[in-house]
């Protein structure tokens, strides 16, 4: 019954999306947006939430008469994986995707009250058109509620790599950010339709974009850390196409976040901001296509079904093509914004946007190149870290250097001797560069990374200096914190590539190995068992000076499905992480050990979290300000 109720809720929601689209087409003839479109959007959000809750209930109960549950769950799994396993498969994750889309639409309908009614009507129409296509995909090509008759006695289990607390957090956060960008897309389309592109649009777009960007940042950071500890390869970013699929919308959203401010504050960069809003969500859809079509293979691709790929590709072409065509048609009617000098806040933000776009372009080309080459020539190639690091590394550093100056500039024109204010960070950067020479050999990119990170740490505080800190808006604090987060993350990445020490060896119980400053004694192994796995657990005693810690990496064997995974044992110290992996036993009785000493590697994820925290502060600050203004206006009126 639950499955049928969930399915019915989805069909009903799809019908409401059709109604909402109809209201947009009918225009002002049929009465109020508030009377029909807004309730329709809210009801869609509630219905999809209901359907999603129904799927979770089926998974938690392990209802094996539902095909999806039988194929991806197992009654012996711990509760958290039966719960989160609901989205650890193709259909479930698409349902999560659609749920976020519908909820974002509902939030847009409820919260946006400042734009003209015509624009809201067109925007809700665009959001409904998006929802309709993806409801169609879910109901026609990926029904999560399909029944299985007869029901099997036991489910097939969940991919062990996904059996991790990360599954409960990473996909929902990422999707909230990823699909939350649909709000910006719909607002851009709505504003193009009603020829209403101006600062008011930017102010309407900003909370949605900021919120989505914060969640996307958190989701990517969490995913990076998950891959780092779960896959046991010791890396934090693999330039896997699926990672790139989440990075591309983030790059576009970051650019959009900055250009929105120009539009909101100065009325400039109109066409560009609209374009970025379209590109950002288009990148989310491209990512969905890459991940969900089975065209790529990774832990994220669950099934190969060519019909699904074609369906998503069709949706992608219709939505992106439609939005771009509308853009080309209407952009001539968008008025030019206010002028600005090259040396100004706008100028710096344009440079920021161009650099982010160039990074986005190179990541995009590198990610899709193998697919096109294979389609055209049949030649199979892979593009990996050597390409992405070489191409995007220097661009990221350039972007970080731009941050030394950009936030200090005035709007429109800046005639002050700005360079004098950047002397302090520049000196710090140079000093750090000299210091790296004393630290020994490392790649030029790491050297420059450490130097720029040191300079940016100082530069990120400069916008706060000379201001009355108690009256500084929260948004400015947020900006400084996010930029500081960039410095921290760059420092972490540079430290990881410059100072990581790796040891790969085979030892007998009682023997020792060393990695960096650590001596690690291998005490032996013991068998252990979990709810649905058995494992060999190694006992390692790591010592450095007076510090002495026990590490217990495991090699786990799962029964359903039969798979082996390595559970690394990792411990964080103030100056880095020690990362240990237990390999196989050799025929002569020795055990393989892989050990890493990674100084300051945690700064990478700390930086990512700081960037997200800065965004959160800005979001709270803007909301607080808007609320205060509304209250004051109401009081003045009374």
């Amino acid at each position: 019954m639950i499955a049928e109720a969930g399915l019915a809720a989805l069909w009903l929601a799809a019908a409401l999306a059709l109604l909402q689209l109809g209201v947009a087409f009918a225009g002002p003839r049929i009465g109020g947006v508030r009377a029909i479109a807004v309730p329709a959007a809210v009801a869609q959000g509630l219905l999809t939430l209901f359907a999603f809750a129904a799927l979770i209930t089926l998974f938690v109960r392990t209802d094996l008469s539902v095909q999806l549950v039988a194929a991806n769950s197992h009654s012996l799994k711990p509760f958290i994986y039966r719960f989160a396993g609901a989205w650890g498969n193709h259909e479930g994750s698409m349902l999560l995707w659609v749920t976020v889309l519908a909820v974002a639409g509902a939030a847009l309908a409820l919260l946006e009250r400042r734009l003209p009614l015509d624009t809201i009507r067109a925007t809700l129409g665009a959001q409904a058109a998006l929802a309709l296509g993806f409801f169609g995909f879910l109901l026609i090509a990926s029904n999560p509620f399909a029944r299985l008759n007869p029901a099997p006695p036991e489910g097939q289990g969940l991919n062990p790599l996904l059996q991790d607390p990360g599954l409960a957090f990473h996909p929902p956060t990422l999707y909230l950010g990823y699909v939350g960008l649909s709000v910006a897309f719909s607002l851009a389309v709505g504003a193009l339709i009603t020829r209403d592109v101006g600062p008011a649009l930017a102010r309407a777009m900003r909370p949605g974009v900021l919120g989505a960007w914060v969640l996307l940042t958190l989701g990517i950071t969490a995913g990076s850390y998950w891959a780092y500890y779960e896959l046991g390869w010791g890396g934090w970013w693999f330039w896997d196409p699926v990672e790139n699929a989440s990075l591309m919308p983030w790059l576009a959203a970051t650019a959009l976040l900055h250009s929105i401010n120009v539009l909101a504050a100065r009325g400039g960069l109109r066409a560009w901001t609209i374009m970025l809003a379209v590109v950002a969500f288009s990148m989310s859809m491209v990512g969905t296509f890459l991940v969900r079509s089975g065209i790529l293979t990774s832990v994220h691709s669950f099934a190969v079904d060519p019909r699904r790929g074609t369906f998503i590709l069709g949706l992608l072409v219709v939505y992106v093509g439609g939005a771009l065509a509308l853009f080309a048609w209407r952009i001539g009617t968008v008025r030019e914004g206010a002028c600005f000098n090259l040396v100004s806040r706008e100028g710096a933000l344009v440079a920021n946007n161009l650099l982010l776009s160039v990074i986005l372009g190179t990541v995009f080309v590198g990610t899709l190149y193998p697919i096109f080459v294979e389609a055209l020539t049949g030649e199979k190639i892979s593009v990996g870290p050597p390409y992405f690091n070489a191409v995007s590394g220097p661009l990221v550093l350039l972007l970080a250097v731009l941050l030394f100056v950009g936030p200090l500039l005035n709007w429109r024109i800046d005639r002050r001797p700005v360079l004098r204010r950047t002397i302090a960070p520049a000196l710090v950067a140079v000093a750090a560069l000299v210091a790296t020479v004393a630290l020994g050999p490392m790649s030029l990119l790491s050297r420059l990374g450490l130097s720029v990170a040191a300079g940016l740490t100082v530069a990120s505080i400069l916008p706060l200096i000379g201001r009355n800190l108690r009256r500084t808006p929260l948004a400015t604090w947020g900006m400084a914190l996010s930029h500081f987060g960039v410095a921290v993350a760059v420092a972490g990445a540079a430290c990881d590539s410059a100072f990581t020490r790796e040891t790969l060896t085979a030892v007998r119980p009682g023997e020792s190995a060393s990695v960096g400053p650590w001596t690690i004694r291998f005490a032996g192994v013991d068998p252990v068992a979990g709810p649905n796995w058995t494992a060999v657990q190694g006992h390692l005693v790591a010592t450095r000076g007076a510090t002495r810690n026990l590490f217990e990496p495991e090699s786990r064997a799962f029964s359903d499905p039969q798979t082996q995974t390595n559970e690394a044992a990792i411990r964080t110290y103030l100056d880095g992480q020690l990362y240990t992996v237990l390999g196989r036993q050799e025929s002569d009785g020795r055990w393989q050990l892989r050990l890493w000493w990674k100084p300051f590697v945690t700064l990478i994820w700390l930086g990512g979290s700081l960037i997200a925290l800065g965004g959160t502060l800005a979001l709270i600050g803007r909301w607080w300000r808007g609320w205060r203004q509304r209250v004051r206006a109401r009081e003045a009126w009374a």
Binding site: G294, T297, S357, G361, V383, P386, A390, V391, A506, G583
Partner: protein
């Protein structure tokens, strides 16, 4: 020069186009030397594997060819696709599904003497996760159909 809004917009468009071209050139430069081609032992026998270039070598692990090295963490084996074969040296922990007679993809470089030195070895993780590179022809064909549609 006085800047009117119209001029400024033209200037911005010009700058954006230059940036896009720059991105494309940068990408082409990066791809020319850093993309890894997929090769089978027959390709390499036919001279389609350049020494020193990043390559992905795919095939089967020849039965009886796996030799463990005295250091305990290196292995030598032979990748074959029937008519041709290539010797491979790998230092590291091999994936659990790596076995003689099974499919394998090795990422690395070909040395002058014909030895393939692998930095990374890929193997199948789970029954429902099948890289097309693993010789999973059905999945490969479907993928190609999807791309060409």
């Amino acid at each position: 020069m006085t800047v009117t809004p119209k001029n400024q917009r033209l200037l911005l468009v010009a700058v954006a186009i230059v940036a896009l071209l720059g991105a494309a050139l940068l990408a082409m430069w990066g791809l020319s030397g850093k993309a890894a081609y997929f090769r089978t032992p027959q390709d390499i026998a036919a001279g389609r594997g350049e020494v020193g270039q990043p390559l992905r070598l795919g095939g089967m692990v020849k039965t009886g060819s796996l030799q463990k090295q005295p250091d305990g963490v290196s292995i030598r084996f032979v990748v074959t696709d029937g008519p041709a074969s290539v010797p491979v040296l790998f230092r590291g922990i091999v994936p659990d599904l790596f076995k003689e007679g099974g499919g394998v993809v090795a990422e690395g470089r070909l040395e002058r003497g014909g030895l393939f030195v692998a930095d990374n070895i890929l193997a199948k993780h789970d029954e429902r996760y099948m890289p097309p590179q693993m010789g999973n022809l059905a999945a490969e064909r479907k993928t190609r159909e999807t791309v060409s549609q």
